[in-house]
């Protein structure tokens, strides 16, 4: 089994988690705890790798119900931070159900879409219907960022599952119609974030401050960075949420453009490895699972880095494996472990037609 692992993915995940701990340490956050999260995440990774992912398809409805239960519980007994109710306290540890819901939704959608070969309009609507309850519960926390991530995960999986262009265009059309209504639906602070994103200079010391300081931090890193633990903006506390939402700014200030490109490349290679897992998956469930994990990680990386460098509006999305936080770190590592579970159970070598004929290997049907 070890021999069939995607070793590159293991190394990339370990390297990213290591960089994460280094950055969290530099950002003066609770780094021993982050190490604990990584260790727990590694355990989840190993467990997920060993576990046969195919068994998850059958318990998907139960997982979905558990996810909704947790999200409802957040509203009833959750702890709030920064104006939003997001946390559950489990045996003294903070648990963020919206983080876990990202992965559970990937599992549920993969199980759902795996049952049908083609994505009919009915199936497409069914996928959106699965998204609706958790999306509502998360947006009501309020956590617009995570809502956008799970919406993107749903659409991405529908696409990878074979949704027709017309179906995706329909969603785009509905969004385009709904967009003018958006300002009314947004909370005051969310609307403000959007306005500030559109014009960060309008209030440089107020709401635009976070964005501006993050940009200054990133820019001041220059080509080579100020060096680990030698950032100015991050070390001296000018970067807000320097270990979580704006961890990339802390990283980019200390490691510079070269370090940032290494980080982006690592994420890029990791993402390609995850897609590769989809391409070798032995079944449609595994393929969709890997595809969903790809979208989940990709959207978070893009949203987090994008907001740190001022390309996207501020939304509280962690940078996978880098940001401080237990739920997100463990969820991401568990997802990557599931990908390994898919990989080690991949279908056999597929030879070119000529070779296959010559060698007379088993037909693809035998795999199923």
């Amino acid at each position: 089994m070890i021999g069939r692992l995607d070793r590159a993915q293991v190394l990339l995940a370990a390297a990213l988690a290591g960089l994460g701990v280094m950055t969290v340490y530099s950002a003066h956050a609770d780094w021993p705890r982050q190490i604990l999260w990584v260790v727990l995440g590694a355990a989840a990774y190993v467990a997920a790798t060993v576990y046969d992912y195919r068994r998850l398809a059958s318990i998907a409805p139960a997982l979905y119900a558990a996810m909704l239960l947790m999200l409802v519980a957040v509203h009833l007994i959750g702890h709030s931070a920064l104006g939003a109710r997001r946390w559950l306290s489990v045996a003294g540890f903070p648990l963020e159900p919206s983080e876990i819901s990202k992965l559970i939704l990937v599992l549920v959608l993969a199980a759902y879409l795996a049952r049908c070969e083609r994505v009919s309009w009915r199936v497409f609507a069914g996928g959106l219907a699965l998204l609706a309850p958790p999306a509502y519960l998360v947006v009501a926390q309020p956590d617009l960022g995570t809502t956008m991530v799970i919406a993107a995960v749903t659409l991405g999986m529908l696409y990878l599952g074979g949704a027709r262009p017309a179906q995706l265009l329909a969603v785009v059309a509905v969004c385009a119609v709904a967009l003018p209504l958006l300002p009314r639906l947004l909370h005051g602070y969310q609307r403000r974030r959007l306005e500030i994103f559109l014009d960060p200079n309008q209030d440089p010391l107020g709401a635009g401050y976070n964005l501006l300081q993050a940009r200054i931090a990133v820019g001041s890193g220059g080509l080579f960075g100020r060096g680990w633990l030698h950032g100015l903006q991050g070390q001296l506390g000018f970067v807000p949420e320097r270990a979580t939402d704006f961890v990339f700014a802390t990283f980019a200030e200390e490691f510079g453009l070269l370090g940032s490109l290494v980080l982006l490349t690592a994420f890029g290679v990791l993402l390609i490895r995850v897609l590769r897992a989809a391409s070798v998956a032995p079944d449609r469930f595994g393929e969709l699972l890997a595809g969903g994990a790809f979208v989940m990680v990709f959207v978070q990386v893009v949203q987090n880095v994008g907001m740190n460098i001022g390309l996207l509006p501020i939304a509280g999305i962690p940078l996978p494996l880098i940001s401080y936080g237990g739920s997100a770190t463990i969820t991401t590592l568990a997802a990557l472990g599931l990908i390994q579970s898919v990989i080690v159970r991949r279908r056999p070598v597929e030879h070119p037609e000529g070779e296959r004929r010559g060698l007379g290997t088993i037909s693809r049907r035998a795999q199923a």
């Binding site: 021999g3 069939r4 046969d52 195919r54 991405g156 696409y159 990878l160 074979g162 010391l205 940009r215 200054i216 931090a217 990133v218 820019g219 001041s220 890193g221 220059g222 080509l223 100015l232 903006q233 070390q235 001296l236 506390g237 000018f238 980019a252 200030e253 510079g256 453009l257 940032s260 490109l261 982006l264 890029g268 993402l271 390609i272 897609l275 590769r276 989809a278 391409s279 070798v280 032995p282 595809g291 790809f294 979208v295 990709f298 990386v301 893009v302 880095v305 994008g306 460098i309 001022g310 390309l311 080690v344 159970r345 991949r346 279908r347 056999p348 070598v349 597929e350 030879h351 795999q367």
Partner: protein, 627 residues
């Protein structure tokens, strides 16, 4: 695990990925999007890198000005007249306040109680400010308040105490008009003095010696480049240059004589129900001012400790005008004290000699106008010395008429009348020496032959007794007395004995400067001095004050009761007394001015005699080495 049995039988050969079109599209899209991020990153970190790095530096590196200690002002013997006392300001960096709303509210309540500022006002001030700059919450904390707040600081995140020093004047009612005070620099001065490195709101000398010697007292500010965190806490000092304290100024003032002068003047004013006056004591050999008093005084500490608008308005609108330094800026007719000028002109121009006898009738008639003597009876024939001693007006009317206004004005100017003295404080007034050209220029009437514009014979003869349009200041009078004492040299008055820098080197030392010499022979001056000597000796009444005080009448004096506010009889008057002593080798010259004084011999002269008495009793101390 049973399901991967068939896979294992393949012997672990490398699987070949089966990339569907959608997976390829997703991979391509991901790479493209990450590429966009990389391009934007390169733009931020390379193209804008240095600009943003500079912004990071300015965020985190603060240039702090280290204010120099202002120089201390001492009297000539080294007694400090002002000190820099510490004062504290409570500042709060809003970003340093607790993050939790309830803790923050609790801290605001505590701050509100400590400062006495209403909580909503405090909250508004803190929340509207730049969250990373300190906000002044309470200025001018005393040591007791500082101690009380300092105890609470550990429970008040974001709050800190900043120390400044503030000028505290000793005996401001005695020394106030000499020292003046400092105050925050005016915006207009701040612009003008920007090159000198003044910070907005920096304290600068406003009046008195504080203003006159500003450049010496100020010192040189230092600076410190410090790294601060987002809460405004200093993390480390990057570079610094210490400040250089201002120079120590030893005034020519003798503190004990200043106190005695202020005391004598205050007592004399009180005795006669008067409120305002001035007195200046100078050394007639050097021009050093030993005492300079203007009454009423005011508490200069009010200005340095942050004066309230009510207090300021009260001082500004006080009818007794305590803010006016009458010693240097009060302009009044000299009256009979001017007669030595007329005498000098008459003698030197050959119109009279020391022996010439002129009649002293109760009045004379000039051009149909009657000009009275102070006495309603004839004092008979007299020479110039007796005319000075008796202060006969009609004698000097005649001399003035003989000399003429132009010549008289020339002698007045030679004695220093009409010139603003260059003393080490701003606001010195010149007084006025009138002549016919001045009258035509100032009259403002188109008809130059009207009474307002044309110089009359009456103008000349009243000029001769220190009236007409003549104005002088108590300081000019003291220097005039000094010139009569030293034989006709008009000295530049100075308040500086010596100025030492921080390392004890002499920056500035008193230097005697003669600004003009009276164009008169020794004999002329001698004749005039003789008149002043006679005035304070028997048989004249003035001698009474000397006898009463036990002070030998060894010197020369002259009183003057000057009318003001127009022309005619029964006008209000000011009282003057100028004096020098001893007669042979004068050590001291002084002027005494009593605003609205009615009889100079009774109101002004005793004050001068009192001052002289203190001087004689303490001469060895006053004249001891000093600094």
């Amino acid at each position: 695990m049973t399901s991967w049995g068939p896979l294992v039988t393949l012997g672990g050969a490398a699987p070949r990925p089966r990339w569907s079109l959608r997976l390829t599209a997703a991979a391509t899209g991901a790479v493209l999007v990450l590429g966009v991020l990389a391009v934007k990153l390169a733009q931020l970190q390379v193209t804008d890198g240095s600009r943003l790095a500079a912004m990071a530096e300015s965020n985190t590196v603060h240039h702090m000005v280290l204010e120099a200690d202002r120089g201390i002002i001492y009297d000539r013997h080294g007694a400090p007249l002002v000190e820099n006392s510490p004062i504290w300001t409570l500042v709060v960096v809003p970003a340093g306040l607790p993050a939790a709303a309830s803790d923050r509210a609790q801290e605001l309540v505590t701050l509100s109680r400590l400062t006495g500022t209403a909580e909503p006002k405090l909250a508004a001030a803190l929340l509207t400010a730049n969250p990373y700059s300190p906000v002044n919450v309470m200025n001018g904390l005393t040591q007791t308040q500082e101690l009380a707040i300092n105890e609470r600081l550990p429970d008040l995140p974001g709050a800190s105490l900043v120390q400044h020093s503030v000028r505290t004047y000793r005996e401001p009612l005695v020394f106030g008009h000499v020292l003046g005070y400092v105050g925050p620099i005016d915006p207009s001065d701040a612009t003008r003095l920007r090159d000198a490195g003044y910070q907005p709101n920096e304290m600068i000398g406003k009046v008195g010696v504080e203003a006159g010697l500003e450049t010496l007292l100020r010192g040189r500010n230092g600076w410190e480049d410090v790294q601060v965190d987002a809460r405004g806490q200093v993390v480390r000092v990057i570079a610094s240059q210490p400040s250089v304290p201002g120079d120590a100024v030893y005034l020519s003032i003798d503190a004990s004589l200043q106190r005695a002068t202020a005391g004598s003047l205050a007592a004399g004013l009180a005795r006669d129900g008067k409120i305002a006056g001035a007195s200046i004591v100078v050394d007639p050999t050097t021009g050093e001012v030993l005492a300079l008093v203007s009454l009423p005084g005011y508490d200069t500490n009010l200005f340095t400790h942050g004066i309230s608008q009510a207090d300021y308005n009260r001082l500004l609108n006080d009818p007794d005008r305590p803010l006016l330094n009458r010693a240097i800026a009060g302009q009044y007719a000299p009256g009979s004290t001017f007669k030595m000028v007329t005498a000098t002109a008459g003698l030197q121009e050959g119109k009279i000699t020391a022996q010439t006898l002129l009649n002293c009738p109760p009045y004379i008639n000039v051009g149909g106008w009657i000009y009275h003597n102070w006495a309603s009876y004839s004092l008979g024939w007299m020479n110039v010395a007796k005319a000075l001693a008796t202060s006969c007006d009609t004698f000097f009317y005649q001399v003035a008429a003989m000399v003429g206004d132009v010549t008289l004005a020339r002698y007045a100017r030679a004695y220093g009348f009409g010139t603003a003295k260059e003393i080490e404080m701003p606001g010195v007034m010149a007084g006025l020496v009138p002549d016919r050209i001045w009258k035509q220029v100032q009259c403002g009437v188109p008809d130059l032959n009207s009474d307002a514009c044309r110089w009359s014979e009456g103008d000349t003869i009243t000029f001769g007794i220190g009236q007409s349009y003549l104005l002088t200041t108590p300081l000019n009078q003291a220097m005039y007395a000094a010139a009569l004492a030293n034989g006709g040299r008009v000295l530049r008055p100075t308040l500086v004995h010596v100025v030492l820098d921080a390392s004890g080197r002499t920056v500035l030392a008193q230097k005697t400067e003669v600004t003009s010499t009276v164009p008169a022979s020794a004999g002329t001056i001698q004749a005039v001095r003789e008149g002043m000597r006679e005035e304070i000796n028997p048989p004249y009444n003035m001698n009474y004050w000397f006898r009463r005080s036990g002070v030998p009448a060894d010197g020369g004096g002259k009183t003057g009761t000057a009318q003001y506010g127009g022309s005619g009889l029964d006008l209000p008057t000011h009282a003057w007394f100028i004096f020098f002593a001893p007669y042979a080798q004068p050590e001291l010259a002084l002027s005494v001015f009593v605003e609205r004084g009615e009889l100079s011999e009774v109101e002004a002269a005793p004050i001068g005699v009192d001052i002289m008495k203190f001087y004689r009793g303490n001469v060895s101390m006053i004249r001891s080495g000093g600094q």
